[in-house]
């Protein structure tokens, strides 16, 4: 996911407090220069916006390993694996989880 200025701004205040002029049918025109404030809220600085978008992107990117792990966890029938392990004195569930964690380490 690529975060945008719009993604950052919607998280600052609720309601239609901002918009963009000169869209001309292009999402690429949702820029700081075209930003317009509809409410009494203060217009955030361009540097704050730039930093805010970067922070959102960093948080998202930093969770890539977790999203990948979860997708692979979801492929396992974990309840059945745990039941079988108890019945058979095996460690298939723990082994599978460890394998996924090792393949996608936390940065």
């Amino acid at each position: 996911m690529i975060y945008t200025l719009e993604d950052y701004l919607v998280g600052l205040h609720s309601g239609q407090w901002f918009g963009f002029n000169n869209l001309n049918g292009s999402e690429a025109n949702k820029t700081y220069a075209n930003l317009v404030i509809h409410s009494s809220d203060a217009k955030p600085s361009e540097s704050d916006c730039t930093a805010g978008v970067a922070a959102l992107q960093s948080t998202w990117d930093g969770q890539a390993y977790a999203r990948t792990r979860k997708a692979e966890y979801d492929q396992l029938n974990q309840f059945e694996m745990r039941y079988d392990d108890v019945k058979n004195s095996t460690t298939t569930w723990v082994d599978a989880i460890d394998t996924i964690k090792a393949a996608h380490p936390k940065p």
Partner: protein, 225 residues
């Protein structure tokens, strides 16, 4: 045969075609004296028909191109959309609105709005449709509704009874994307003071784009009031 002017006010002896061309004008003919027997088949062309009473259109009618008809079919259709996302409750979706301009052109005059209060170009029964696209986190929800004003202002006198409730899934960390539709057929009896608006309340992200339809507002005139 000799032409004889009789003392009784008549002329006899005149052969068919015996008068010079162009000498009999409309005034020479008695009113209501020419019937269809005096007309050649096909002699009445388009330029010589002033109009036709609706009562004459009976029986088996010929195929008529729709392009030749007026007052039938859809006479008004318009579509607006939200261009920019917003979060949470909005009493009137008032800004960041544009007419759909992606392979679309309105039919008729189209509706207009001032600060989110939409007015109609003509009276009639209008189908008004809000289609909302939203994104939710866990346990968030939004209620969309259509409301009416009959005094040209932001004073709303009735909720039109058209609501859509959509929300995030409780069992996942990110509720994901949902759409909801609410719609009403409203009898617009006065275009000078009747308005509709769209509102939402709750928590969640209402989505809008300028390049495509996400949250849209559609107006179609179905018939006369």
């Amino acid at each position: 045969m000799a032409i004889v002017i009789n003392g009784s006010g008549t002329v006899t002896g005149l052969a068919v075609g015996g008068l010079p061309d162009g000498t009999v004008d409309a005034g020479t003919l008695a009113t209501n004296s020419v019937d269809s027997a005096e007309l050649i088949n096909g002699a009445v062309d388009n330029d010589h028909m002033a109009g036709m009473a609706a009562s004459k259109l009976t029986g088996a009618l010929p195929a008529i191109s729709g392009a030749s008809l007026t007052g039938v079919g859809i006479t008004e259709a318009d579509q607006w959309r939200l261009t920019t996302d917003f979060e949470g409750t909005v009493t009137t979706i008032a800004s960041n609105l544009e007419r759909n301009d992606t392979d679309f052109d309105k039919i008729g005059t189209g509706v207009s709005h001032s600060s989110g209060l939409f007015s109609f170009p003509s009276t009639g029964k209008w189908w008004v449709i809000l289609n909302a696209a939203a994104k939710f986190d866990e346990a968030e929800w939004l209620q969309y509704s259509l409301e009416r004003s009959t005094n040209s202002s932001t004073t709303i006198d009735t909720n039109l009874g058209a609501e859509a409730w959509i929300g995030g899934h409780l069992e996942v960390s990110n509720g994901g994307y949902r759409t909801g539709t609410c719609q009403v057929i409203i009898d617009v009896t006065n275009i000078s003071n009747m308005r509709v608006r769209f509102r939402t309340q709750g928590s969640g992200l209402t989505r809008g784009k300028t390049t495509k339809n996400e949250t849209t507002f559609t107006f179609i005139k179905l018939g006369e009031t």
